[in-house]
Symmetry: C2
């Protein structure tokens, strides 16, 4: 059947979808969720179909950006379609749901189909659910990791030691990467760090680094930066490292579930894609983090070590205190200020953030077999070598290396939250304080967020400030006030 | 935030979805798959959001038919939106995925959310997958059945005996309902039969009955027909009986999985919704049916009996021969001719179909405690009482009761498939022969389909016809010829 293209000018963000009129569907005996092959100019693409009564007229085929791009179609082009078979993966997904184990061939095909958008949202969800209910074996997880690496781009680095870190289920603040990369690079080690942007937090590492420099680079440019400075801090989302991962996360999000095997595979595949040899995994534990207790964390730790070994990586998993934000700033500009204060060794630097970074740097040195790591890390920091390295990286990434901490602009509207009584801080709710910083405008408004004056164990005096909120508009401050009144963010 | 409505003029067929521009999403910190509340004219509706770069401009909200109808919106109306919480069901779906059992309250809420389109496709898929991997207990299945009944419409019938039947995973032909309803109604029993249309077969009972009469009636009209004739044969899809079912099936389809508990619940909920007290479940067993062996069938049988008892229904499950089509015709018109031939007791009637119906009628009589059921069924059929009852039903459903069998039009293009050698029929592939009848145009073209001259065990002689294909166009016949050459439909 021949149909004329109607471009729908939007992305599905994943599955290849085409929409046809119900009259045309009837002729070919097509049903919603069936697949068609679309032929155009010697090219073939497969798409899942939706059927409409009136959005697309008879004789037309509605296509989204992805299909248009794949076949290099233009609006009003004429294509030919016919019924296509289901992808092979459907049978493997069913196997997984039935509790059977998958072979290398099957997992490779599944990851290929995911990366090439051959599966519908419903099908992909069944795969994630199957893997959640019937956990993958160690062997399957390893195969999944390798398949994810294979289907993405890779950064080849000619060095025996390539270090990397990952923090699971971030807590607010906690900008260790931006301090660890300069320390380790200053010590002479390669650390090709790719980071994410915030999803539910006030800032991701990529958002914070963006206050100081560019973070979007193609792989060859990233490689050049690393060659010169040994380290970089870029946005991983701009690269195609283990791309199956993002598609899997998109269906996991609504239920906030993490199929353990996919968590392991996606983290380790991204590390493996940039040639990492020595990796630290930070698992913060606290009531409002992804991993809420030591038992779960220890289980996950064992898995990381097992699979890491099989991939030829040396891995250290550290269980850290995740009960409260790390550092004083929450939001890109405020967190960038924290980072610079530590690197510049200013007296008003957040010591909790510095301590965590020194401990992790010491762990890195130990992992790569270097003695007196803690002293070395302290020396690199206090001597200003880490700050000099950071300036070099900022410059290579197109930023201003000489920016002064106070020159980083904060949002113009401020609101101080005052202690209503004297006491000692018992708890800070990570989720609520992150939410409040987001309501103030972080991370979209770089200068918005929260500056926290107190941490757990600190004493407060009635009438003194607990934290200051920065927002871009008066109306946001009003909303913040309302939320502060309703929620118990800090318990004291 | 206020947005102007842009009607997208299509149905999602399920979840309530609205699309907003990424710039507006940023302001409210909304992400794909988040939910919003839409306020209009004192009414509130919740919808899942999609985010677009360009399909919907800034300041607009794209809504599908379902949202438009729910809020009685018109194009260009202005609505207010804000972030909404996730439905409660999300937590219950997660419980199910984690292998925990659900309570009555939780199952009621889930079914309510499904029926009211509060769950996205991904969320609903997680529910189905969770129920598939971690099967429901008998208690949960019972609760699911009751919740499905509660959320749909009901047909109240003031009779102690209300009979009904259901065939699982239909085989081609097999139009027992259209013979059983007149037999049982002629015997004085109420049988308010709702049937489905074909999904993958050449005809459903509703498609076939539609050759002879109307099948789309609202519940009150259906009740009137039953009051007069004791029986009816209508399309269940036009009613709102246990409506959660169709939504669940829509996500099960791509993988062709059946979560057992949902199969049981959906069948029994539909029966319970029309007040059925005595039900026969027909499970055809064969290599190309849904239930392929006696072990699976016996397991399912036990479950039906257990849950039926708890619902206060008397149930008999019969395991029948599902190796081949029942009757000679495949396709609405050809199957309607088969039915009339049996009811009219013509010498050329399909005896396999008649035998199955008499056995099932005898089962019904036994189930309701009446003796000599087989003899009674035969007498009702041979005396012409069943045919008279069918004429009454056809007339009440707006058809021509005096239609002659040969007046039912067949599609004009014929193709005879001839035996290439002499032999005995060993097997007929249900799936392939159904596919061929659909390629010929069934069920959309009522007169299209296949007339089968032979069944398993029959002898064929070289050069004689195996079956005749009827199609609406020359090009369909050409395609049929090609498929016949490629496939081994009949083994002899």
């Amino acid at each position: 059947m021949k149909l004329r293209v109607k471009h729908l000018k939007t992305e599905t963000g994943g599955p290849l979808v085409a929409i046809i009129n119900e009259k045309d569907a009837e002729v070919l005996d097509l049903h919603a969720a069936d697949r068609i092959k679309i032929f155009y100019n010697g090219q073939i693409e497969t798409a899942v179909i939706d059927i409409t009564e009136s959005l697309i007229p008879k004789g037309f085929i509605g296509v989204y950006d992805e299909v248009l791009a794949s076949l290099k179609l233009k609006n009003k082009d004429v294509v030919r379609i016919r019924l296509a078979k289901k992808p092979l993966s459907i049978d493997y997904i069913k196997k997984k749901l039935d509790g059977e184990h998958l072979t290398k061939k099957e997992i490779d095909q599944l990851v290929w189909d995911i990366v090439h958008n051959k599966l519908s949202q419903v099908e992909l969800t069944f795969f994630v659910a199957g893997s959640y209910c019937n956990p993958n074996t160690l062997e399957e997880t390893l195969l999944l990791t390798k398949a994810m690496v294979k289907e993405g781009d890779r950064l080849h680095i000619d060095s025996k030691i390539v270090i990397d870190k990952h923090s699971i289920g971030g807590i607010p603040g906690n900008r260790t990467t931006m301090i660890l990369v300069p320390i380790m690079a200053a010590a002479g080690y390669v650390m090709p760090k790719t980071s994410s942007r915030a999803i539910t937090s006030p800032a991701g590492t990529a958002d914070t680094m963006e206050v100081l420099a560019d973070v979007v680079f193609p792989l060859p440019k990233m490689k050049k930066i690393i060659k010169k400075a040994k380290g970089c801090i870029v946005w991983g989302g701009a690269l195609r490292l283990a791309p199956a991962d993002d598609k899997i996360i998109s269906v996991e999000k609504p239920l906030m579930i993490d199929a353990e095997s996919q968590l392991l595979a996606s983290i380790l595949a991204k590390k493996n894609s940039v040639s990492s040899s020595h990796v630290i995994i930070d698992i913060p534990i606290g009531p409002n983090t992804k991993i809420t207790n030591t038992k779960k964390a220890s289980h996950l730790k064992r898995k990381f070590l097992q699979i890491g070994t099989r991939l030829g990586m040396k891995i250290k998993v550290v269980l850290t205190d995740g009960r409260q934000p790390i550092g004083n700033g929450l939001g890109p500009a405020l967190e960038a200020r924290d980072v610079l204060k530590v690197l510049k060794q200013r007296p008003d630097r957040p010591l909790d953030l510095e301590r965590k970074c020194i401990t992790m740097a010491a762990d890195f040195f130990k992992l790569i077999g270097r003695k007196n790591g803690r002293a070395l890390a302290k020396q690199i920091l206090s001597s200003g070598k880490a700050y000099e390295k950071m300036k070099e990286i900022i410059k290579l990434q197109g930023g201003n290396p000489n920016i002064k901490t106070e020159e980083i602009p904060l949002a113009p509207f401020e609101y101080d939250v005052i202690a209503q009584k004297s006491g000692r801080i018992r708890a800070i709710d990570n989720l609520l304080i992150a939410k409040l910083a987001r309501i103030a405008g972080a991370p979209q408004t770089k200068g918005a967020g929260i500056y926290l004056y107190k941490h757990i164990g600190d004493t407060v005096r009635k009438g003194k400030r607990l934290f200051t909120v920065y927002a871009g508009s008066k109306s946001k401050i009003d909303y913040v006030k309302q939320v502060v009144d309703e929620m118990d963010i800090i318990d004291y």
